[in-house]
């Protein structure tokens, strides 16, 4: 049944290889994919979760990290409710690129977009970015912070659930019209939420 009350769009960004696709797969399919190719352009997944007994549908857009796909991936930022910026805690360069990513987000995403910094691959022994460094960075830039392991399923569920909760709260406190199942997502009213324009902007 199409009975969700909220529909939120979540976009994952960050350097290639930090584990965005694995995070999404872990969350939506409950698995850690062995040796899939790098994402090309954009990939799409859906997952419906329950928050306070209400169904929340998460549309998850997983983007390619490579430079050359940047223009198409940027076009997906615009309608995002939440942006997950991922780096690899065992790979300094992926952390060093964060300011560049933030600049892109500034430029192409809504200013009210919920931003979450994720340090992935906590299962790895060869950590290069201490947790507090990531935390500091997130705090300085007004982002939520979480460390995850797609491989060990650590904090992955929590990551998306917290996003769902936070977005739902935002949507509720703004007293926006709720999704009701009878209105298809292609219907104008639902798109208004989907546009990222009403539930995230004051």
């Amino acid at each position: 049944m199409e009975d969700y009350k909220f529909l939120f769009k979540v976009v994952l960004v960050g350097n290639a290889g930090v584990g965005k696709t694995c995070l999404v797969r872990r969350f939506t399919q409950g698995l850690f994919p062995p040796g899939q190719g790098a994402t090309i352009g954009v990939d799409f997944m859906i997952k419906t979760v329950e928050v306070d007994g209400e169904k929340v549908k998460l549309q998850i857009w997983d983007t390619a990290g490579q430079e050359r796909f940047r223009s198409i991936t940027q076009s997906y930022y615009r309608s995002a409710h939440a942006l997950i910026l991922v780096y690899d805690i065992s790979c300094q360069p992926t952390f060093d690129c964060l300011p560049d990513w933030l600049r892109e987000i500034e430029e192409y995403a809504s200013h009210k977009v919920l931003r979450i910094l994720v340090g992935n691959k906590t299962d790895r022994e060869d950590r290069e970015i201490p947790r507090h460094i990531g935390e500091d960075f997130a705090q300085r830039h007004g982002m939520y912070f979480l460390e995850t392991s797609a491989k060990e399923a650590e904090n992955v569920e929590r990551l998306f659930m917290e996003i769902a909760v936070e977005l739902m709260e935002q949507a509720k406190c703004k007293e926006l019209p709720k999704y009701d199942g009878s209105l298809g997502p292609i219907n104008g009213k639902t798109t208004s939420v989907g546009d990222g324009s009403c539930c995230l902007r004051s």
Binding site: I40, E67, R68, S71, G184
Partner: protein, 821 residues
């Protein structure tokens, strides 16, 4: 009774009862009895599903459902919603067989619906499509796409303005980038993505009130998705039109389907939307570094040009032009310019005045920027400039001829015109712009000279002909060549020769408009060319180039009316070779060679047997004694200046002899007032004579005036010339003496020349100078004047004013020399 029966499973007669129910108009009548029962539409929907999904849609029941929907269209939305909910449940339970059946049923209902009632159903139909697209199963995604495409091809009477397609655009674009591990599956998903985008485009493009597909948020997804698939083709075959594309497999090859889709998109773009498509195209090429090599870029942009509405093709050129400089890397710039030149011709046919000049101006601006740029790699920058110039030529080539003239005048107006010491960038720019001019000029097909050379244009060209570096000046001559050469003789006349017989020149009689043209502008042209031969920095290339210009003039204006002027100029050339102190020995030799080559050309284009004989004599003589005075022109002449046989009259072209030749062929008759066209011709000529005379030039009439022939030979450098004119022959002995001490002789010679010049200027009586330089209104009158002056004054003093042909102001030319020493 019937109400009860209708609640049972379908039996015979059921349809009959349905229609009864239909006709029941009392709202209370039906609902009252059935409220406790499952609604009829639900049962009808349930019945189309078989017990086992493998059995497929139950066809007979589907017909019933269809019939019911058609007769009770107000139920359509509920039928749709119910089907959607069933499918959602089946997706959740992974019973994909039933999902497929539900989708199939919706497809059939959609097709069966009348257009007025469609709107009721579309909502749930699209929800269903979206639901399937959200599944991770490629099969369902592809199925959903097919349904969507079917829907997209239906024309709706009343489009639903609140309907939004952004999910579809996002999802189909993602599918276009599918990275599925299984190759066939990947291809199919990508194909479906492209088809889906095509569907969205068809559905929305024609009506701006529906979702505005041209918005950046959509175009930034659609365009790169199409290009990404196009760029993966193994080879790029560019055909002008998809309809005539007979290659098969269009529908199962992502690159080609993407191409077809791009064509459709571009073809539907109105003027305001072109940029929305082009911007992401340019960005995609930048991001994916697709400019170098240029094949794919050329392919893509040609496709855009083929499919764009013709009147907008200009904006593609404009967009590319504005993008030329974007980002870094000269190689990329050069590649963009190369792409530009491959498409610019398309735009030419449909561009109108202002946009034409705008394109040209833009190209020139880019050229200027390139010249000014301190490039990391000069060779790449050159490549870039070349590509820009090519683009310019390509563009001009497809414009009507009158616009080419406009363009050439425009380019000329942009050329910096400083003589001598401009900055390096200036002279580079000058040369680049002249190259551009040449490129455009070479696309112009001259008919009448007056059309090819409007006065202002000609003026500008002639002004430039003396400016700049040697190579630049040669370039300018090449522009003249291409504009003058109507009969394809330029290549044959590229370098001086005396052997014209085997060149296969095409010569036709000069037309009257051309005669008028040359009588108006001949003097300016000839004097500019003559000046061009007098420059210290001239290389063999310069002399060759000027020779070619003159030879082309000679061929193109073959006429007895013009022959005198040509001969006059030839004599002047010879004179300057003998007397111009700035010319080196080698330069003088070249001018001699060129002069003789031109002289040999004259009897080849006009029937002048006497002249032909005379030329043959000189050639023979030079062959024996002075081969360095014959073509071909050399880079180096291994000669001492004293060897310059300026004292051997039989090696020189003699003015009197020329006059005799002409007379023998009856040419001067043309100059008589009684001759046909004489009135007009004379009048024209008159003004020219006037102009020439005002600048101190002897008129053409001099040449046929045998007795005063000395005048010319005595001109310019009187002292030197006296030996020749006075018939004081130089013995071989003297030559040998000179050869024994070349440097010594050279120095003495130069000194003597200097002295004579000074002397002339100092000693020539003022009134005589005045006489020579004042306007001459009547040829006869002038002749008398000269006769008189000659009889009064020995030959010596004449020189100053009367440099033979077209040395406008010899004083300005020679005064610096005088003061220098």
């Amino acid at each position: 009774m019937s109400f009860v029966k209708c609640c049972f499973e379908s039996t015979e007669g059921h349809d009959f009862l349905d229609s009864l129910v239909q006709k029941c108009t009392d709202p209370g009548c039906c609902c009252g009895c059935c409220s406790a029962l499952r609604p009829r539409y639900k049962r009808l929907v349930d019945n189309i599903f078989p017990a086992s999904p493998q059995d497929g849609l139950v066809k007979s029941n589907m017909e019933k459902l269809t019939f019911y929907s058609l007769s009770s269209p107000e139920k359509l939305d509920r039928i749709g919603e119910y089907l959607f909910q069933k499918a959602s449940r089946d997706i959740y339970r992974r019973r994909h067989g039933f999902v497929i059946i539900a989708m199939e049923a919706m497809d059939q209902l959609l097709v069966a619906c009348h257009s007025q009632t469609l709107n009721l159903f579309v909502e749930s139909f699209l929800k269903m499509v979206q639901k399937l697209l959200e599944s991770t199963d490629p099969q369902l995604q592809i199925l959903a796409t097919q349904s969507f495409v079917r829907f997209a091809n239906i024309e709706e009477d009343t489009p639903s303005y609140h309907r939004r397609y952004d999910f579809f655009v996002s999802k189909f674009s993602a599918m276009c980038h599918s990275n599925h591990n299984d190759k066939p599956t990947r291809e199919n998903i990508r194909l479906a993505g492209i088809q889906g985008l095509q569907g969205v485009i068809r559905k929305t493009v024609s009506d701006d009130l529906v979702e505005n597909i041209w918005e950046a948020q959509h175009m930034d997804k659609i365009v790169p998705s199409l290009l990404y698939n196009m760029q993966t083709a193994e080879k790029y075959e560019t055909v002008s039109c998809m309809e005539t594309d007979t290659r098969d497999g269009l529908d199962d090859d992502p690159p080609r389907l993407a191409e077809a889709c791009l064509r459709e998109l571009v073809g539907r773009a109105s003027f305001g939307h072109i940029r929305s498509v082009l911007r992401p195209v340019l960005t995609h090429f930048d991001r994916h570094e697709l400019w170098v090599p240029t094949e794919f870029a050329v392919h893509t942009f040609k496709i855009i040009m083929f499919s764009i509405q013709a009147q907008y093709s200009y904006s593609v050129v404009e967009a590319l032009l504005q993008h030329l400089d974007a980002g870094v890397g000269t190689r990329v710039r050069a590649a963009r310019a190369a792409v530009l030149s491959s498409i610019v011709a398309f735009a030419a046919g449909d561009s109108v005045g202002p946009s034409v000049l705008e394109i040209i101006n833009n190209l020139l601006t880019n050229l200027r920027a390139s010249v000014a740029r301190d490039s990391e790699k000069e060779s790449d920058e050159k490549l870039y400039q070349e590509a820009l110039i090519n683009a310019l030529g390509e563009f001009a080539d497809h414009l009507p001829d009158f616009q080419k003239i406009d363009i050439m005048m425009f380019i000329v107006s942009k050329i910096p015109n400083q003589r001598g010491k401009g900055t390096k960038a200036d002279s580079m720019l000058q040369s680049i712009l002249l190259k551009s001019l040449l490129k455009v000029g070479s696309t112009y097909r001259t008919t009448e000279l007056s059309k090819a050379f409007p006065a202002a244009f000609l003026d500008a060209l002639l002004r430039l002909s003396g400016a700049g570096e040697a190579a630049t000046r040669a370039l300018l001559q090449r522009i003249l060549h291409t504009l003058l050469d109507r009969r394809g003789n330029a290549a044959a006349l590229a370098a001086p020769t005396v052997d014209y017989a085997k060149l296969g020149l095409i010569v036709e009689k000069c037309s009257r408009p051309d005669l008028i043209f040359i009588s108006k502008h001949g003097y300016a042209i000839f004097s500019s060319l003559y000046d061009g031969l007098q420059l210290e920095s001239n290389t063999a290339e310069n002399v060759c180039a000027i020779y070619t210009t003159l030879a082309l003039l000679c061929v193109e204006l073959a006429s007895e009316e013009t022959v005198c002027d040509m001969l006059q100029l030839i004599l002047s050339m010879q004179q300057s070779a003998l007397s111009n102190p700035v010319l080196s020995t080698a330069q003088a030799c070249r001018v001699h060679g060129a002069a003789l080559a031109l002289l040999a050309l004259v009897p080849h284009v006009l029937l002048l047997p006497a002249l032909q004989e005379y030329v043959a004599q000189i050639i023979e003589a030079r062959r024996e004694e002075a081969p360095h005075l014959l073509p071909p022109l050399l880079e180096d002449y291994d000669l001492s200046p004293s060897k310059m046989p300026n004292k051997l009259p039989y090696l020189m072209i003699d003015q009197m002899a020329l006059a005799e030749c002409l007379k023998a062929c009856g040419v001067e008759a043309r100059l008589q007032p009684a001759a046909p066209y004489a009135g007009a011709a004379l009048a024209q000529r008159h003004s020219w004579v006037e102009a020439g005379a005002a600048q101190g030039r002897d008129s053409l009439a001099d040449i046929s005036a045998g007795p005063n022939a000395e005048l010319d030979s005595a001109n310019s450098s009187p002292g030197v010339q006296r030996h020749c004119g006075g018939g004081e022959s130089v013995s071989l002995e003297a030559l040998r003496r000179a050869a024994s001490g070349p440097s010594e002789a050279e120095r003495r010679e130069a000194e003597r020349r200097r002295a004579t010049l000074n002397d002339t200027f100092r000693t020539a009586p003022f009134d005589h100078l005045l006489l020579i330089t004042q306007p001459k209104y009547e040829i006869k009158e002038k002749l008398e004047e000269i006769f008189n002056s000659l009889s009064e004054e020995p030959l010596l003093g004449v020189g100053v004013g009367g440099s033979p042909a077209g040395k406008p102001t010899p004083c300005t030319k020679y005064f610096p020399e005088l003061f220098l020493y």
